[in-house]
Assembly symmetry: C2
Homo-oligomer: 348 residues x 2
């Protein structure tokens, strides 16, 4: 069982403990969020990252935001709750799990508005912990549902980190690999380092190494060559938001990998919980793409690697069209050939 | 006129001055090679890099290797010359210009073996300088020949560095862009940073910025997204070795970019001098691919970014099949749809 990325410590007046993912793999350090601002900062700066983990962080962030409110009545309390969710929603625009987590907390509060402020606070903490526990079950189920797609003796390429660090427990894309390993399948994983922030080199390589899974680190630019050498039998990645038609936003570079896989006749799988689907948007064209700071590229290694004054474009995500995706693995089942109809059939 | 990457200083007992390209863009420093070992080291560690520049470095390296030989007769001298070229040939296996430069120096020595050792030494220095001067003319001619392919208002993506730093003067791929700029064409360049050694971020961005050409730095993983946004009208790259059928070895990542370009219907151009062609090999399958140290990936620029003990695959080049290449721009003309026949027609 991996070390938990995120944990609530104590009762309603407690705090959140996070693994600071920006310091891995050279340092395993916990950070403690005592208030909503520190949680906003942790999400923004990627101390906590990965779509499902962000959903949990958002819910716990709401609890941090309301724990010290001394509202006279429930209406006033709900107003302050709304401020908290709006604030947390500004931290990262692309990951739908953020908004999903915030909306769920608001809904639960609304459903219980007949109760006292103190009671609603307790209910919200309970809900955040429930989201976390549900995610654990979901991770395991994604692993179960996806493992049949992994043939014994396969080479598998993954991009970014969709592992235990990105979730409550076991990961999404990596859950499938952990499960394959449990079943005794021999697999060899190629981990894209995933520039600019190197989640593949820092996090995926670290997780797989600790799980004693055969893993080889490559630069993103090497994926095509590795495929041509016949070393990759499938690609599996996570997702940050999936539109109603199956178009999938994930870490920048995923779209390119999907094109390379198609060119080489290699199946391309997305593993994601149902909460990653945003059925309110028709296609990937409607997904906002977060642009991040130029320094992530120009000062990426603690050393200046580009000339002063250089213009930079730093989109954090791209959109892989549904037509490039062989199947989406969810906790409810595997969606083959993702389309509006095929998605609806599995999601219900 | 760019600062020369490589210069011979003095007479036959002189030395070579190089820009240490590993220190750019934060530091512009010259290194001086007084003997063949320091030149071998400079080529190996990429202080001097870029296929045409390596050809010049090889030729000057030969001069460094023979300048102090006190052979009794020409036969003994030629034997020692052979040792020098064999030694320099072990520095980097993929770039054909290295072997081209070494073979040319040997041939000239053989052609003059009737002369005295001192005379042959002078002739070899003269030949090395001739290779350098020829490269200047070649760069200009590649620019002239390629500029017609660049439409006014184009976005152009390039990978690695095929600029003035890689050649005697003006570059190959970048020569076309410098020429377009001279002609008043408006162009916007996207420079792939080019992991692991960041030649795009460090060198291409630096050269284009100094030439006041609009340039935007991106990570390699962002190329597909930038193409999808409609910002790229053509791709232009250099080459390290081109087989008789047009298959082209270039910096790792180039093959992937060629697939992305094809997917988006974007022309993909290679710019390279005739010396880059290796007509003794039929296809790219025969090109040896240099594998470099894992630390280039795991310790990019002085900070450990991957877990201890991680397995790494670090090929320095890949091969783009001729079918993905729209045209190869040489000093002798533009080879449309590269094939054995079309290449032979231009190369003669």
């Amino acid at each position: 069982m991996p070390l938990p990325t995120i944990e609530w410590e104590g009762d309603i007046s407690g705090r959140v403990r996070l693994i600071d993912q920006t310091l891995l793999p050279t340092e395993l350090k916990f950070v403690y969020c005592e208030d909503i601002k520190s949680m906003w900062h942790a999400i923004k700066t990627l101390m906590v990252r990965g779509a499902p983990a962000i959903g949990i962080a958002a819910a716990m962030g709401v609890v941090l935001g309301i724990k010290d409110i001394h509202a006279k009545n429930t209406d006033a309390f709900l107003k302050e709750l709304k401020q908290a969710t709006t604030y947390l929603g500004t931290s990262r625009p692309t990951a739908v799990n953020l908004f999903w987590g915030l909306a769920r907390m608001e809904r639960v509060a609304q459903e219980n508005k007949g109760k006292s402020v103190q009671e609603i606070k307790e209910i919200l903490l309970h809900e955040a912990l429930k989201i976390q526990n549900e995610d654990k079950v979901i991770c395991r189920q994604i692993g179960e549902n996806g493992v049949g797609l992994i043939k014994d003796g396969s080479g598998i390429l993954t991009h970014c980190n969709a592992g235990g660090l990105a979730t409550a427990d076991y990961g999404t894309a990596l859950a499938v690999l952990f499960k394959a390993k449990e079943q005794g399948k021999r697999i060899a994983v190629y981990a894209d380092e995933t520039r600019p922030l190197l989640q593949g080199a820092r996090l995926t390589a670290w997780e797989l190494l600790h799980a004693v899974i055969d893993v080889t680190l490559i630069c993103d630019s090497m994926a095509a060559h590795v495929m041509k050498l016949g070393k990759v039998q499938c690609v599996i990645v996570g997702a940050d938001r999936i539109a109603a038609n199956g178009d999938t936003a994930n870490k920048i570079g995923t779209f390119g990998v999907s094109i390379l896989a198609k060119e080489h006749g290699i199946p391309f799988y997305v593993a994601a919980p149902v909460s990653t689907f945003d059925l309110t948007i028709k296609s990937g064209d409607e997904i906002p793409i977060e642009e991040r700071s130029p320094e992530e590229i120009t000062n990426g290694f603690g050393k200046k690697t580009a000339p002063e004054g250089i213009k930079v474009f730093n989109p954090a995500f791209d959109v892989t069209p549904a037509k490039n995706i062989t199947a989406i693995i969810t906790e409810k089942g595997v969606i083959q050939k993702p389309s509006v109809e095929n998605i609806r059939r599995i999601l219900g």
